[in-house]
């Protein structure tokens, strides 16, 4: 009990420090006055131009190894930069606070717990895709981790040689032969496709019914609060587990590379 108090006081102190730190962030970028560095002279023109012709622009996707058709280009790029802003001003500060307040074993426990809950939609999708072995492994993992793994806080099953599979309804649709559709960048959620975006809906309902069942079984009185906590925790946990940061890939062509990698990855996930 005593140590529990100590931890929470400590956590509180850290929270205050981190919030203070986050609020101070904008003040950190120091501004230099250097008139010779304002890049005013832009009169130079290269004697040779490699500017792409109209035809080059039209055929750009098929000409490039990294090319992916992008009919929703304007919407996607708007969302991409919206997500980058959201990340910078909301998501990442929240994740930083989360990481500063909770020690890594606790975060790992939360992450494992959510992974464990997600075995349910994965199982449903394994069955829908006719992947018997993966379905059995997933059930096995869920049973082991929910019991020996203390409600999924520990991932004992992986240690026992049962690796975690991830199957979502987007993949299920892919296995059923549904075309991936146009590349889409969704608000906050990021890269997706027409098919994967539709796939989010059934997965959402499976998870929702699952959580409602858990709230009922656990006799939760204040369900709205439980729902909010669930959503917030899942959101922060998911972002904390994705190392990607917008505009940090050392190339101005990041959007193009992310689009390529996402599309290829999902192709492989469906074949897997």
């Amino acid at each position: 009990m005593k140590s529990g108090n100590a931890i929470s006081t400590h956590s509180l102190a850290r929270l205050v420090c981190v919030l203070a730190f986050v609020m101070l962030l904008p003040a950190c970028a120091s501004r230099k006055i250097a008139p010779e560095l304002t890049l005013e002279d832009r009169q130079f023109r290269a004697p040779v131009s490699h500017a792409p012709s109209k035809k080059d622009i039209k055929k750009a996707v098929e000409d490039s190894y990294f090319g992916v058709d992008d009919p929703a280009n304007n919407f996607n790029r708007t969302m991409y930069s919206f997500n980058a802003h959201f990340d910078k001003y909301v998501f990442i500060p929240v994740v930083m606070t989360y990481e500063a307040v909770l020690i890594p074993p606790v975060r790992k426990g939360i992450s494992n717990g959510i992974d464990n809950l997600n075995e349910v939609p994965t199982f449903v999708n394994c069955v829908l895709q006719g992947k018997g072995k993966k379905a059995v492994v997933t059930v096995g993992r869920f049973l082991i981790n929910s019991t020996i793994g203390i409600l999924g806080l520990m991932d004992v099953a992986t240690e026992l040689g049962l690796p975690r599979h991830e199957e979502d309804f987007g993949q299920t649709l892919g296995v059923w032969g549904v075309d991936e559709g146009p590349y889409l960048v969704l608000p906050i959620l990021g890269p997706s496709s027409g098919r994967d975006a539709i796939g989010l809906v059934p997965d959402y309902f499976i998870t929702m019914y699952q959580m409602e069942a858990i709230y009922s079984a656990a006799d939760v009185n204040d369900k709205p609060t439980a729902r909010n906590v669930n959503t917030a925790t899942r959101g922060v946990n998911t972002r904390a587990n994705i190392p990607f940061r917008y505009y940090s890939t050392d190339t101005p062509f990041e959007y193009e590379f992310v689009r390529f990698l996402y599309t290829k990855k999902r192709e492989l996930d469906v074949q897997k």
Binding site: S30, K32, A34, A46, I57, R77, Y247, D250, F253, E256
Partner: protein, 424 residues
């Protein structure tokens, strides 16, 4: 199994970053004797030198008032850098990233912790060839001409020095860099010997490039039909991709770390000339990013028409495509050299190229005892002549390992210990 279980238990007690366990006496020799494999796959997890303590990395930035920033680079208007400071008076070390790399690239983060745990305040800077540097802090917004790039670095370092000194006392200052950053570190030491703002105690060149232009041209020849046997580079890249796809499909990968990379090194089957294409392609993408950024910042009309102001909606794939065909030699002849002439920089092409080589300051390097080198004899970015130059110029101030490729063994225990010893 027991080991795994022990690891699980340890996990709960020691997850709070305490990766101490330095590999003991029985370190295996560095496994990749093939320089290309070394360059691509790096150091296997069991052989990585683990810094004794980890410091808190503070991300910082600075911006230049009223600087012209193109709309599509809205996210790069501040020059980002980072610092890891001791909580007391300490020597300061500047780290300069390699070609096209950012202050927080994997190699930079690693090196920062290695030297922090050796008692340094560490400041990490992006390469002047990185788009963020070009957009936010480069005086002429065109990278690749070493004297200009080093002037830019020098100026930024003076600003950073002020920031550090406001927080903690600085005992003395050193500079280090890997790859192109190593070459920059040598030129920084040379510039400082004339101006005396830092009075560097040591300059550590890690796998330095000796001659920027020559190394860049070497990459370009790796893409030529002579190396590929007539195959298109993209076909070779596709083969790598397919192998990786098979690898990915047959296992559950949580993340792409050094462990996975090591498994991959065993899995991938490729010839040396194929690895060369892979390395050269990475370089080509880096160069494309650099050239595109400069062209947009200067509005020079090289790949983006001068009358076109790119917005954040414009697809950039067409520019990527044309730049995929632009060799470094083309960039130099068609863009960089004409621009330098426009700026009034004197000298023939040969002279300008020579100013980007360590050989141009060979006399200084030979006499300056503060400059030390740790590298590899089989570094594929160096010619035999370059390796000879390093040996001849630095003598026992250069530690060269027989194998390791280009920065492949940078995390390997012996290599790290050599870096620590040489900078002491």
């Amino acid at each position: 199994m027991a080991k795994r279980f022990a690891a699980l238990l340890l996990f709960f007690s020691a997850m709070t970053f305490a990766p101490i366990c330095l590999a003991g006496d029985g370190v295996d020799p560095y496994p990749f004797t093939d320089p290309y494999k070394a360059t691509v796959f790096g150091t296997p997890p069991g052989m990585i030198y683990k810094p004794q303590k980890l410091g808190f990395v503070a991300n910082k930035s600075l911006s230049i008032k009223n600087r012209h920033i193109p709309e599509i680079f809205w996210y790069a208007e501040d020059l980002a850098y980072s610092m890891v400071l001791q909580k007391k008076s300490a020597p300061l070390l500047f780290l300069v990233a390699g070609t096209g790399a950012k202050y927080d690239s994997g190699k930079m983060r690693y090196l920062a912790q290695v030297f922090f745990s050796q008692g340094y305040h560490v400041v990490c800077l992006s390469s002047p060839t990185h788009f963020n540097f070009i957009v936010s802090a480069s005086k002429y917004a065109a990278a690749g001409y070493v004297p200009h790039d080093v002037e830019d670095l020098y100026r930024v370092m003076l600003w950073c020095k002020e920031v550090v000194e406001k927080r903690q006392p600085v005992e003395n200052i050193s500079v280090a860099g890997y790859s192109l950053g190593g070459l920059h570190a040598a030129f920084l030491a040379h510039l400082d010997s004339q101006r005396g703002d830092f009075n560097f105690r040591k300059a550590l060149l890690i796998n330095p490039a000796v001659d920027l232009y020559e190394s860049a041209l070497r990459f370009d020849t790796w893409m030529s039909p002579k190396n590929t046997g007539g195959e298109k580079p993209v076909e070779i890249i596709d083969r790598f991709f397919r192998q990786f796809a098979e690898f990915y499909k047959t296992r559950e990968l949580e993340k792409l770390d050094s462990e996975v990379l090591y498994q991959l090194s065993d899995y991938v089957k490729a010839t040396d000339s194929e690895y060369r294409v892979l390395i050269a392609t990475t370089f080509r993408i880096t160069a494309a990013s650099m050239i595109f950024t400069s062209d947009v910042c200067l509005n020079a009309g090289y790949v983006v028409p001068a009358d076109k102001a790119l917005t954040k909606y414009d697809p950039l794939l067409p520019y990527m495509n044309v730049l995929a065909q632009v060799r470094f030699e083309d960039y130099f002849n068609e863009y960089l050299y004409p621009y330098l002439q426009y700026l009034g920089v004197a000298g023939s092409k040969e002279e300008v190229i020579r100013r980007c080589s360590l050989k141009s300051i060979g006399g200084y390097l030979k006499s300056a005892g503060k400059i030390v080198v740790v590298g590899n004899e089989d570094d594929p970015i160096l010619s035999d002549g370059d390796v000879g130059f390093l040996k001849e110029t630095f003598g026992d101030r250069a530690t060269l390992f027989p194998h390791g490729g280009h920065c492949g063994n940078m995390q390997y225990v012996d290599f790290v210990e050599a870096m620590i010893k040489m900078i002491r």
